[in-house]
């Protein structure tokens, strides 16, 4: 399990490099490692953009011998007012910077978003090894 605090752009790099290392450890294919690292990069970027700080947690999963990696992106930022809209393609409140969550959802196998307006956002997403 890894906790990577996200406070600066260098932390975005650190988070995706940890994800890459964990993907290798889990025996992911190179393409899945790149998908995972890209998703982590985008989630960490969202934290910086919207909440300024937060953390990325990475967990190695094992379900009946099948390995996966869970990414939890957590912040105590402003939260998302309209979650449904945030999950629509092409919607971004930061001037087109973060392409946002629909893309991350496509990169990962499972995706869950919890956000309380004024209290923060938690995104939990899992990438499973291919079988």
């Amino acid at each position: 399990m890894e906790h990577i605090p996200i406070r600066a752009d260098t932390d975005v790099l650190a988070a995706r490099q940890k994800g890459r290392a964990l993907g290798l450890q889990a025996g992911f294919s190179s393409i899945d490692i790149t998908l995972l690292a890209t998703a982590i990069s985008e989630l960490a970027r969202n934290i910086l953009l919207y909440a300024h700080e937060g953390e990325i947690e990475l967990r190695l999963l094992n379900e009946g011998g099948r390995r996966g990696i869970m990414v939890i992106a957590r912040d105590q930022g402003p939260g998302i007012v309209d979650i449904e809209r945030a999950l629509q393609d092409g919607f971004s409140t930061s001037g087109g910077l973060g392409l946002g969550l629909p893309g991350v959802k496509r990169l990962m196998d499972t995706f869950e978003l919890k956000s309380t307006y004024g209290a923060g956002t938690v995104v939990t997403a899992v990438k499973w090894e291919l079988r």
């Binding site: 790099l13 490099q17 393409i31 985008e42 970027r45 893309g103 496509r106 990169l107």
Partner: protein, 140 residues
């Protein structure tokens, strides 16, 4: 992390050698836009073979570089987007619309050479209108 920029004839070649932070990317953008002017470059190649991830910010910065240097008369070619990155970029919904890409450095240079030749061929053709004079004396 500084990105080395090599001047080769009328072209600049920037080779990204590792993962870049947002600040590094912004610095690269400034450097390249400035250097195409200083070296009077006609073409610019940005080689991203060693890049681990092209996320929304990196992609947008590459687009910016291509458009900004385009305004200064240099054509940019992004080379070396490997298969995994291309796959991830499409899943994420990114596009490099309006930006020329080539498989690798060799293809990128060949593309710029072809463009240079066609520009020269066009330039040597006699012009029909005498531009500025016609503007000053529209009927004369």
């Amino acid at each position: 992390m500084d990105v080395p920029v090599l001047k080769q004839g009328p072209y600049l070649i920037a080779t990204v050698q590792s993962a870049l932070t947002d600040a590094d990317l912004a610095q690269l953008r400034r450097t390249l836009v400035e250097q195409v002017g200083r070296y009077r470059s006609r073409g610019l190649i940005v080689d991203v073979t060693a890049v681990d991830v092209l996320d929304s910010f990196a992609c947008r910065t590459l687009r910016d570089i291509a458009h900004m240097t385009g305004f200064r008369g240099a054509e940019t070619v992004i080379v070396g987007i490997h298969a995994d990155l291309a796959f991830a970029m499409v899943q994420l919904g990114l596009s490099l619309e309006g930006v020329t890409t080539a498989l690798d450095l060799e293809e990128g240079l060949a593309y710029l050479d072809r463009k240079q030749r066609s520009v020269k061929a066009l330039g040597s053709r006699p012009r029909q209108s005498a531009g500025p004079r016609n503007l000053l004396h529209p009927r004369g």
